[in-house]
Amino acid sequence: MLTVQGLSRRFGGLMALRRVDLEVKRGEIFALIGPNGSGKTTLFNVVTGVLRPTEGRVWFNGQEITGAPTHRVVRLGIGRTFQTIRLFTRLTVFDNVRVALRGAGSPRAARARVEELLAFTRLDDRAHELAGNLNFGEQRRLELARALATDPALLLLDEPAAGMTYGEVQELIHDLRQLRDRGRTIFLIEHVMDLVMGVADRVAVLNFGEKLAEGTPAEIQRHPRVLEAYLGERPSDARSA
């Protein structure tokens, strides 16, 4: 569904992404993990047209979207949330979702669709509040509702569980499974391993802009290069080096 080929992005002297290849398949939950600064968010920014790649190409459903403007990428069916929440704080909760609504038809249908999305994210009783007045967990859920309003076939979530309590993470796991079962493909960046290991069908690991490994959660947990990137070299290896 989403194919990333030989993708590189340079910021001055820093290679944030180095010839990354990825393939997200329709109907799966694909997780991208890696230490801070390994290029995960840069990858999302390049895919959604917020940044242009230095090299490489991106395809979505067989159509090349390399360097396409963000709103066009979104209209083709890629929705996204941000690592640091970016809501329209001076708009109401309702309008934050309505602004992104696509293909709902009549005003009445649009209203019903917004209400449905707010119900799904358990924000229906906050609809007429300014988004800036919501608490952190609510703001995260509103970002999800706004991304869903664009009716994305592929949903990119940048650390959706960051700062969440254990209970909230369990709720999120439940929501993500429900979204997948309703036919949405999910591509997420995450540090919270409970979430990654709990919902991901496949996992890829990024380190210093390069893809280290790819596989099922179980394979990744045992992968020697991944352990090395996260925990450092094993003492025996260090001695021999």
Binding site: T48, V50, H71, V74, F82, R86, F88, L91, A147
Partner: protein, 303 residues
Amino acid sequence: MEYVVAVLSIIGIHALLGLSVYLVAITGQLSFGQQGFYAIGAYLAGMATALWNWSLGPALALGTVAAGVVGFLVGFPALRVRGLYLGIATLGFGEIVRLGFLNLKYTKTIGGRLVGPNGAEGFRHVTYVYERGITQGQYLLVILLALALVIVLISLLERSRLGVQFRAVEEDEIAAAVAGVHVTAVKVLAFTLGGMVAGLGGALFVHYSTYIDHEMVALPLAVSAVTYAMLGGLGSCWGTVLGAAVLISLTEGLRVAKEFRLIVYGALIILVMTLRPRGLVDERVVLWLGGWMRRRRWRLDAP
């Protein structure tokens, strides 16, 4: 009575100019150049009635559309600059227009009088309204009708999804793009609409005053226009109308303070902006009023 009609006419015309700043400001663009569109509307509509014998309606439409076309063209370079830099760039645009009209000479002798833009002399004898015996009071109605139409259209825009997209662009362009908003289209549209509203204001003004020159569309007018919108608040177009009404009534009402007038005026602006940084009618006021009206309707609906 004549005095009240005159003040109300000026409030109506300046409210239109303020609304043109407002339309652009709610997409996050600060413009000190809306008086340029106002000047284009004024000169063109004035030439239409005074030189080409058009009637008032088509002349107002011409001023509105011409300023809108220029607004559309200004919208594109405006995309490249933001915030204070955009303020300076738009000020540059306003000055270009002003100096253009300072140097424009296009006159005809009609009935023994030299009519038309005449360089630094200005553009005299836009006498359509007086020749047809339209009274000041009747012309005030024309102004208020135009203002009411603009307010209705902007209110409809604000309730629509497009209006919400305007405000989304103001707060965060990247988040707006990710919500599927065509940011470029929204910003250029705002400049186009803003240009049209300012053009209409100018077109109404020149027929009210019968005269316009380049000094009347210089920097002080830009500052007034921005102040109406900022002091009135960006929560609703009514804020700008209120801002224009309050500020113009103040300048008039403070005449008793003689030379201290402008000091008091400035101090009041500082006070309001300190207490209400997003203006008198900000988003919170609008939300509170909306909630109040919903509750009222609910109470009325209840048996």
